[in-house]
């Protein structure tokens, strides 16, 4: 029950992108086409989950015992960067088809603040390993969902010809994101 609560809360109620404002750059940058957004979403779910687990282990088995919690930011970001590289190399060897689908998005993920953000958040929330895993997986799913919906909306937006000239491009996209965030607010309260 507790895990379902974490899951629902991270996907819908406190969506990483639309409510916590993490990972906005790829949200605005890689959302022109539904197909690319699927690839990016998949890559983020994958890296986010592994990164959160590894960061959890580093925090609890290295930083806390050595009393160097102030090294958190530095070690997490280095781990994430190294991890992304490693995932890229392994994926290339093990599953070329998956690599083809996700490959070009992987380097972009290092600077996706959703990854570092979720890793830090699960430490702050005092989650245990299983809770961290569920939270990270759900956050990744939340990111992918928001990205996919937004990409679909933007594809429609491009077809529409009656957008005021001043709003064309980024402002219109931001307004759509605002409406999407408003829709997600409707989920608040369902956790109870």
């Amino acid at each position: 029950m507790e895990y379902i609560q974490i899951l629902v809360s991270a996907i819908f109620v406190n969506n990483v992108v639309l409510s916590r404002f993490l990972g906005i750059c790829p949200f605005l940058g890689v959302s022109n086409r539904v197909s690319t957004s699927l690839g990016m979403g998949g890559a983020v779910i994958f890296v986010l989950t592994i990164a959160a687990i590894v960061c959890y282990l580093i925090q609890n088995f290295i930083l806390v015992p050595l009393q160097i919690k102030f090294m958190q930011t530095i070690s997490f970001i280095l781990v994430i960067a190294a991890l992304v590289q490693m995932v890229e190399i392994i994926l290339k060897k093990v599953s070329p088809s998956l690599y083809q689908a996700l490959g070009i998005f992987l380097p972009l993920i290092t600077t996706n603040c959703a990854v570092l953000g979720v890793a830090i958040l699960s430490i702050q929330k005092n989650y245990n390993l299983l809770q961290t895993t569920v939270f990270a997986l759900a956050s990744g799913l939340g990111f992918a969902l928001a990205l996919l919906l937004f990409a679909g909306l933007r594809e429609q937006l491009e077809l529409s010809s009656n957008i005021p000239k001043a709003l064309k491009g980024m402002p219109a996209a931001l307004l759509v994101a605002g409406l999407l965030a408003m829709a997600f607010m409707g989920f608040a309260g369902i956790v109870n």
Binding site: S9, I68, F70, M71, I74, A188, G189, V191, N192
Partner: protein, 215 residues
């Protein structure tokens, strides 16, 4: 411009950068450690000052910890200059808020009367649920001077004595739940100082499960 990469100089560069940065951070950490610890203590003390009448001791030295409903909370003891108990400040929480968790600090006088309540953290909706904060709405003021023995910690809709914030029943119920939990913790702790409180434990326990029974 930049140097040609060889394995040796790459390794050396990375080692040097991380070493220098760790040394620098360790230094800054030493410098700020005292200030950060002081801030933590002051934050606690300022909170206790808000919820209890004037006291003479340093309550953050007199902490007892308790494990309640899945989380550890702290109880701070305030005494006057002769060491007589003035009251306890009890950390409490509820997970039933509209936006999830609400954390409060509740100050009880030695006879069990609520002196004052401070909201430490919450994520209720701005403009609606955030009115549980005394800085935004008088809702939490109604608890002052009430003794949970006679003042039923439930919203009126559920048969209690608490006036809920209009259109914000979930947050109001959650707030009552947190205060009822605080009273339960308080009563259990008070048995140490006053054996009479032992008879109240059952009722205080029941009140916690009752505060949000109707959902």
């Amino acid at each position: 411009m930049a140097k040609v990469s060889s394995f040796k100089n790459m390794l050396l560069t990375l080692l040097a950068t991380t070493f220098i940065s760790s040394a620098l951070l360790a230094g800054v950490h030493q410098l700020t450690k005292k200030a950060i610890e002081k801030v933590e203590v002051e934050k606690i003390n300022a909170g206790i000052k808000k919820v209890l009448p004037e006291f003479a001791n340093n309550p953050s030295d007199n902490i007892s910890k308790k494990f309640v409903d899945g989380d550890t909370v702290a109880i701070y003891k305030a005494t006057d200059s002769e060491g007589k108990l003035i009251g306890l400040a009890v950390q409490t929480f509820t997970n039933k808020g509209y936006g999830g968790r609400i954390s409060l600090l509740v100050g009880f006088l030695a006879d069990g009367t609520i002196n004052n309540i401070d909201v430490i953290a919450h994520s209720e909706t701005p403009g609606l649920g955030d009115k549980i904060d005394p800085r935004k709405h008088p809702f939490s003021i109604q608890f002052q001077g009430k003794n949970p023995d006679t003042f039923k910690l439930q919203v009126r809709k559920d048969g209690g004595d608490v006036d809920a914030i209009s259109a914000t029943t979930v947050s109001s119920r959650a707030f009552c739940d947190a205060v009822a939990r605080a009273y339960k913790i308080f009563v259990e702790e008070m048995v140490k100082y006053n054996p009479n409180f032992a008879s109240k434990i059952q009722a205080a326990n029941d009140a916690v499960s009752g505060a949000t029974k109707i959902n």
